[in-house]
Amino acid sequence: MSDYDSIIIGAGHNGLVCAAYLARAGQKVLLLESAEAPGGLAANREFHPGFKTSVAHVVNHFSDRIASDLKLARYGFEGSSNVTLVTGLGREGRHVTVDGHSVTGVEQGDAEAYRRFAAQMRRFADALKPFWLKTIPRAAPGKWSDMSTFARIGLKLRLLGKDDMREFMRVAALPARDLVDENFDSELLKAVLCWDGLIGSKMAPRSPNNAVLPMLYRTAQGQSGTPGSLIEALQASARAAGVEIRTGTTVDRILVNPGQDGLVAEGVILAGGEHIHASRVVSSADPKTTFIGLAGIDNLEIQFTNRIRRLRCDGFVAKLHLALNGLPEFTGLDRLNGRLLIAPTMNDIEFAFDHAKYGEYPPEPVMEIVIPSLQDASLAPQEKHVLSAHVMYVPYRPKGGWNKQAKAALYERIIERLSGYAPGIRDQIIHAELLTPAELERDYRVSGGHWHHAEFALDQMLMMRPTYEAAQYSTPLPGLYLCGAGCHPGGDLTGAPGHNAAREILR
């Protein structure tokens, strides 16, 4: 006897999206979240009395289709179709700012080149955009049933016209550095443009495999806004559709029973021992956690489990949260909106990565900074502010492991680096929280603390995401589905995996 049509593990934004779609289609849905509040990596959390923020600090390209299907505007998500500004912080206050169409702070030549480059990248991104909301068919001999998706990708690219199509084919697999080197002179601008190809991945500007696709994924037009309002709206939309949400509830195991044709996932067993039955279980936990931790290898096939085992999941982003007694002052910058990057040159990014590759944390980390309390005043007490930074590259497993001293040393380097651009910041700090990838793993139940749940690179993309036989949201274990960032298209706050999984389930 099933208590529910679907149980969804994890109320991150993808779990919420999937739950809302299923409930709107008439299913009885239970959403289980281990944390005290929904939202996953995008959940606002108090890290110091009166100060809140979320690990994921900006929404850049949330799907507008999903926003409208789930009526998120009505539930308070005021998404904007403007791209969030990105400012590369320069020495002595000579900054470069891009808005997706134009750039300021560079020579005339670069400014013109950027307009051309940005327009072309937008055309590529627009051509690819429909596929982030598609299920990528399996590439198996004799299974040509849904090859139309591939045909449509081909057609979309043809429609770009001959020149664009050729150019797309040429650049698609370029390392980020080669792409921007071809186009620009300004070191700072080049570093800024690389960033979205790299952040969250085990990749630096010179790395192959693959920066251009993530860049285009993130260039796809969508809704931008604050994670807090997105999660609030998703939650309200899901509840309105009838989703039952239980927070503070950890799933210990997926309930697997012998059925007519072999094992079937039939529900979950909670940490307290309670069994809940459902016609299917949909997991937004990362693939490693889902299969190895929750479903159990003895319920899965040998080769499949070993493909999950070798998924690349080590995170390289650490998270810094500062409670500040006022708005920080960055040299030469009067407005602190958008994303601020401390990554003066591509070499700085590359060298930071070199250290992390060998298990060290970088002497001069690179980072993306946001002041969330500027967008949402409820995140800090009056006159006070929150600074949130994604710090790269910080290894999940440093040599010698993580300990107090290692963390303190890393913290010192980050603040030192930050002070180079915001000289007074040290004195403004009321409280600081630094989360290493290992701590993100522990606190957010994400393997490796990985931004995308599993590395977002060619070998783990499209019909290989997370691995074949689980790349169409169903899994080799009947009754078990995936709906989190470990599925196509990948991480970031887009809602796409949750949406695609719901469509497959309702098919």
């Binding site: 001999p141 012998p258 044709d261 072999g262 094992l263 190895i292 159990g296 290898i297 003895d298 319920n299 096939e301 040998i302 080769q303 499949f304 489990t305 070993n306 085992r309 036989e469 080799p476």
Partner: protein, 399 residues
């Protein structure tokens, strides 16, 4: 071999029985198996075959891969890996098993020995340590040890084998049922004897530490002197196993992990080993794919053929009509003239939907450098060609 041999690491390993076996390898007919120097035959393949069938003979199985699988989760791990239900295997018993890929294609076959509730020995023809490592991933308490070089093993087969072991002083050996494991004190160590083998006849396999290998050989050969004991090699083994209907890698099947083309490997159903696939087990590797195949029926079925005439149908194509005009329906995997059965026998992969109709083999053979072709009618045999009652009798008849 001098220590400054530049090819030291490349040379074939020698079995612990080599000092004795090499003396008897009159023809120096050596080949290799799993990196060991290994006898193709010693004196004459046919002669050795007759010794296996009429007297007794030893086959050096040191190169066979042996793995100890130990720990609380050993049974669970093996049970998920193989298609048979290992939880039903009793202590000191052996069972024949196959294991498959996720898609239900045969990786290899072998035997599992249950040595303790948490200790099993797995033997198989070629290395499978990588597969075992993959299979143990995720189990908390299981360790796999490759003990191939730590155990000397001798297969001892033939109608007089039990009598020889008794003569050697293995008291109570006649009480061993097929697939039983017995242990005997031997020079301060333990000699393990299992009633197993690859000849389809009465026979045993003897397991001893390598340091006592020569003592074992000497005592066995001295006890067996009047019983016609003789070593046999790969060639005679291949004849005996074909009569027994056992499959061989690279003949009846390709190990799935080593094939390149899709479906150039086989499933247990195609190999007529459906009886090894236990669907009462809720889960094992490849179960879903195998269940589908069982419902659908295998495309090919490994079939025993009795072929008219006396020309071995090696490598023959099979047809559903005497003129060999219509579509071919299969191919012969192994064939021989069987002296024991006095028949022209073969194993063949035949399209399952053609098994009911006529089967004709197009046989090519050679006579004094001239090539000839003939077409021979084939009859499907349900039972193994060679399966004497003594192979199963306990105690076996005395000689």
């Amino acid at each position: 071999m001098s220590t400054n041999d530049p090819y030291a690491g490349e040379r074939l390993k020698l079995s612990p029985f080599y000092p004795r076996a090499s003396v008897l390898n009159i023809r120096e007919a050596w080949s290799a198996w799993n990196g060991y120097k290994f006898a193709e035959y010693y004196y004459d393949a046919e002669y050795e075959y007759f010794c296996v069938r009429n007297q007794c003979a030893t086959y050096d199985i040191c190169p066979m891969q042996k793995y100890l699988v130990k720990g609380r989760d050993a049974e669970a791990m093996l049970n998920r890996m193989v298609t048979r239900d290992i939880t039903k295997l009793k202590l000191n018993r052996v069972t024949y098993v196959v294991w498959c890929t996720d898609e239900g294609r045969l990786v290899d076959d072998g035997t599992i020995f249950k040595l303790a509730s948490d200790e099993f020995m797995l033997t198989c023809g070629s290395s499978c340590i990588a597969w075992l490592r993959m299979s143990t991933y995720g189990f908390d308490e299981v360790n796999v040890f490759d003990v191939t070089d730590d155990i000397a093993a001798l297969s001892f087969q033939g109608p007089t084998s039990c009598a020889v072991l008794k003569e050697m002083g293995l008291e109570g050996i006649e009480q061993a049922k097929p697939f039983d494991i017995l242990r005997f004190p031997f020079h301060g160590d333990t000699l393990m004897v299992s009633r197993t083998g690859f000849t389809g006849d009465l026979g045993y396999e003897l397991w001893i530490s390598p340091g006592l290998a020569l003592e074992l050989w000497d005592e066995l050969y001295s006890a067996g002197e009047d019983y016609g004991i003789q070593p046999f090699g790969e060639a005679a083994t291949n004849m005996a196993r074909l009569e027994a209907g056992f499959i061989m890698p690279d003949m009846e099947f390709n190990e799935a992990l080593k094939t390149v083309h899709f479906e150039h490997d086989q499933t247990p159903f195609e190999l007529n080993l459906g009886w090894l696939v236990d669907f009462s087990k809720p889960h094992f590797n490849g179960r879903r794919a195998l269940l589908e195949e069982k419902k659908r029926g295998p495309k090919y079925t490994l079939t025993r053929l009795d072929i008219e005439g006396n020309k071995p149908a090696e490598g023959s194509y099979l047809y559903g009509d005497r003129n060999c005009k219509k579509k071919e329906i299969g191919y012969v995997t192994s064939a021989m003239w069987s002296p024991a059965v006095k028949a022209n026998i073969a194993l063949a992969m035949i399209r399952t939907d053609c098994l009911q109709g006529e089967i004709w083999a197009e046989i090519y053979y050679e006579k004094e450098l001239r090539h000839y072709q003939k077409v021979a009618r084939c009859t499907v045999k349900d039972k193994p060609f060679w399966s004497p009652p003594r192979a199963r009798a306990t105690p076996p008849p005395d000689y």
